[in-house]
Amino acid sequence: MNLCGFTMSFTTAGIHGLYAVMACFMWFVSLAFSLEYMHHYKHKSMYYVFLLATFGATAGVFLSADLLTTFVFFEVMSFTSYVLVIHDESKGAMRAGETYLAVAVIGGMVMLMGLFLLYDLTGTLKIAELPDACAPYAGSGRLYAAAICMLVGFGAKAGLFPLHIWLPKAHPVAPAPASALLSGILTKAGIYGMLIICCSMLAGDEHWAAAILALGAVTMFLGAFLALLSGNLKKTLACSSVSQIGFITTGIGIACLTNNLSEMASKGTVLHMVNHSLIKLLLFSCAGVVYMNLHKLALSDVRGWGRNKPLLGLYFAIGALTISGVPGTSGYISKTLLHESIVEVIEELEHAGESIFLLKGLEWVFLISGGLTFAYMSRLFFCLFIRKNRAEEVQKRYNNKMHPYMNVLSACVIALPAIAMLCIGAVYWQHHYYTWTNLKGSLTSLAIGGLLCLLLKGRDLKELKFDLEDRVYRPLLLGVCVPLLGGVAKMLSAAGDVAAGLCVALMRTIAQALAGVIEGIMIRLNKGLLRQIQPHEERFSPMDWLRGHPIAQRWQEIRMDVLDSANSLSFGLLMAILGLCVFLIYLVRN
């Protein structure tokens, strides 16, 4: 189809189709849930318009067959989702929205740069043609540059380590169904992009894979760690999304490392993506229900609210178990697949005799993060549904559930993702997943998680003081870059004016100097001569200007006073004698 000046092509093959379906499902669930959730909100019409617009854009991203179309819908998706983020226009929302937009726009621009470089290098942007188009340039600097730019773009949307700052801020402020979609689907759009980069452009490139794995590992651990420390329900879920994205990135990294050969890695990645979407939909919906009733999200406030709400507890439990990867859940399957792919690679390298130290470290990070996930999920569960609120009367209010905390529609709507997950779990209920080696990995992480949970039970951890964005990005960007560049720009723009003024002034001074010299002489000369023509001036002598001169005065005195008049005899004699002497001296000498 010919749109926006170039041919847009769409495809429903493979992952594109899968994720389009996922998008539809997710949007259906959140839309249904938001009917109730948005009931007492303002600007409902604007919310729905932009929700649907975002859906369109996201569908476009997933279905596009060439990167340019992807970019088009990617940008549209950024802007429409921005409106969702700042929906309730609170100060926090505005600030979060600002960050979100900045990251989105910067990411978009850098990705565009990447696309330029890629297009220039390979001449085509069709995803299908990319693998063999990029093959000849494998390892060349320009391909890396293009890849890095695109990685920044997609990574920003996905929430990879350096650009994850907007996620923990945007989701708490966005309305629950919106934040469910933000975590669920929009991050997957980012992952989708990274899949294209890693698996089709740079498949089998060790350096690239190593970088991805490193990023994935850091994101996994950091996300989980932040989630653990966060005191806000939605903020924890957001950080958990970051961590899960880290897991998926690791999967992608392994797939890239093994040049798409390790079937386990690719299957595991896709499965984990699907799982994570459904989990986040479920968990955020539960958080939405909490917020719907209490309009508060801080753990300390909502503590003990869910004690007498078994259905919500069930949903939450299913979500928690799946995400922690407890055996029997679909989460376990995807996590195991990822874990086994890492182990498989390790063995392979062992045979090849290369150092496997790094990958061993990766595996341990994988397990620890799994443990952390389990820890913070269980902490949430305990806080909401098990423990009592510190303040008695608050707890009493929570317990008397006079009116139903969520209507029937949202109840069954939320049930859908839970059921979906359970089905996936069942589908994959084959034996070989449960061999000892697989079980060993998940059990170790569960053990770590349990241990941590016991340690932290009950005590609320302080918020993490160090906020990457406020400490690093804003001061660096706004504090340093803008004033510096602004100064350069001001200097440049003034240069035009200053140069013009300078050369004109120069010309003027030269002219003045020259005129001054000539004029000076002339004025004095003709001022004197002028006296001549002025008949009725009482003193006629024209050399008025000379008269003022000391030498002239001396001369005049000699003529007038000492020699009583210029024409007196003695003066004549004096001159005659002088003349005679000159004559004689000159003639006699030669």
Partner: protein, 507 residues
């Protein structure tokens, strides 16, 4: 020996005779005698000039048949004849031009005395022109000095007496120096006749003896004659003498007297010392430098003047500078340029002095610029005279001044080195300054009088408005002068041809 050849002797003797006879005649008769005597001499000189023009060679005319050491000789050539005619014509015209002033300035009694001194003045000048014997030259130099001072003193107001005394003393110094140099020459060469002295001097130079005395002789002669002909450093007597004298006498003085001494100097340089030696002699550089200084300083001082006659006097110092600059260049073209300037300046300056007299008549006798304002309208002849004078001074073609400048520049350009540049610069500066003060004089005399005249001259102006009467003689003289200037301007070819052949005959 045709009749014409004894014109030189005839004219000198005639003038002496008339001078003596005038003594006894009554005033009016003396006037007519003087006029027709001078007219006769002029006619004779013209006849002589025509004789030469028809191919006559220069000849020496011994006075009385006495031998060399004691005898006396005159030498006449085309140049001498031309100069003689010029002198006599200009004398006649300036007498006519200044007649009106003679009545008012000089008392009734002394008028014949004035005519006597005029006649003797012309006689001495002609003698200087013709003489071939340096001692007779000295004799007539003395006569010239006495008669010149005579016509200056004839005006008899306090100022002229002081001025003429100064003039007299300075001239006597000049002639004294001239005498000393003659003695040295006589002592060294033993001859008095110019041609003989020339061979002796040439011989001496060849042998290289008596170098110092000869140098001193030349120096003294140079200084003496420059003093008498008002070369710049020696010219401090000129402004007073010429401005205080009456119109006709100052015309004759600045027009002729100065020129006669210059002619004498040229004759002595070329006939006594010989052209070969003089051309490379250091004295010429001195004359050139002083001439250039004269040109510039004369004009600069003239700018200072606020009195019409003093302005003209200073201007003649400047013009004399021109002549000496021409002589100083040393080349025949230079001397020719000098002679042209002699002719042009003689006519122009005499005309201007007569015109100045006319202006003074038209503005109640005052010489001050303040009073002569608008006089040019009242006395049109004087006005036109001054216009012609200015145009000639600036060097507009068709006028005499142009020829002077043309010939002087041609002479200066052919001479190389510093002389060339210095003289050209001097010409430019002097032309500018001359133009300024002459055009300024024009601006004053042609300004309509109604521009706020000062009280002092108020009553003067009413008087003369009424009684300006123009006497015909003055008008005729002015017109003739103008024609003379135009003639030189237009017929310059013949003049140059006369001068160059005269110079060649000179040697």
């Amino acid at each position: 020996m045709s009749l014409v050849q004894n014109v030189p002797a005839f004219s000198i003797l005639l003038l002496m005779l008339c001078g003596i006879v005038c003594l006894v005649l009554p005033r009016r008769a003396a006037r007519h005698l003087a006029d027709c005597a001078i007219a006769l001499v002029a006619a004779a000189s013209v006849a002589l000039l025509v004789y030469f023009l028809q191919g006559g060679a220069a000849y020496t005319y011994s006075m009385g048949e006495i031998g060399a050491p004691f005898g006396n000789e005159l030498r006449a050539g085309m140049l001498e004849a031309a100069v003689a005619t010029l002198f006599s014509i200009v004398t006649l015209l300036s007498l006519m031009g200044g007649r009106a002033h003679l009545r008012s300035d000089i008392g009734r009694l002394k008028v014949n005395l004035y005519y006597i001194s005029t006649l003797f003045l012309l006689c001495s000048m002609l003698a200087l022109v013709y003489t071939n014997d340096i001692f007779t030259a000295y004799v007539f130099v003395e006569i010239n000095t006495i008669t010149a001072c005579g016509i200056v003193m004839s005006k008899e107001d306090g100022y002229t007496l002081a001025a003429s005394m100064r003039y007299f003393i300075m001239s006597l110094i000049g002639s004294g120096l001239f005498l000393i140099s003659i003695c040295i020459l006589y002592a060294v060469t033993g001859h008095l006749l110019m041609s003989n002295i020339q061979e002796a001097v040439a011989q001496l130079y060849a042998q290289g003896e008596y170098r110092a005395p000869l140098q001193v002789a030349i120096a003294l002669m140079g200084v003496g004659l420059s003093l008498k002909s008002a070369l710049w450093p020696f010219s401090s007597w000129l402004p007073d003498a010429h401005s205080s004298a009456s119109a006709s006498s100052s015309a004759m003085l600045s027009g002729l007297v100065l020129k006669s001494f210059i002619f004498l100097m040229i004759k002595i340089f070329y006939r006594v010392i010989g052209a070969g030696i003089v051309r490379t002699h250091a004295v010429l550089d001195l004359l050139l430098v002083f001439g250039i200084l004269g040109m510039v300083m004369g004009s600069v001082n003239a700018l200072f003047e606020r009195d019409i006659k003093r302005l003209l006097a200073y201007s003649s110092v400047g013009q004399i500078g021109y002549i000496f600059c021409g002589v100083g260049l040393g080349t025949p073209a230079g001397v020719a340029a000098a002679m042209v300037q002699v002719a042009v300046h003689a006519t122009t300056k005499a005309m201007l002095f007569c015109a100045a007299g006319g202006l003074m008549d038209a503005s109640g006798g005052s010489k001050k610029f303040r009073d002569i304002e608008g006089a040019g309208r009242r006395d049109p002849y004087a006005g036109v005279a001054f216009i012609v004078g200015t145009l000639s001074m600036i060097g507009i073609p068709f006028f005499g001044g142009f020829i002077t400048k043309l010939s002087l520049v041609q002479a200066a350009v052919t001479v190389g080195g510093w002389r060339n540049l210095l003289s050209i610069l001097a010409i430019i500066v002097s032309t500018i300054l001359t133009a300024i003060y002459y055009i300024n004089v024009l601006a004053i005399i042609f300004r309509a009088p109604e521009t706020a005249p000062t009280k002092a001259s108020e009553k003067l102006k009413e008087e003369w408005k009424k009684q300006v009467r123009l006497d015909t003689e003055y008008e005729v003289a002015i017109v003739l002068f103008i024609l003379l200037n135009l003639a030189i301007g237009l017929r310059s070819d013949q003049l140059m041809q006369i001068i160059t052949t005269g110079l060649s005959m000179f040697g």
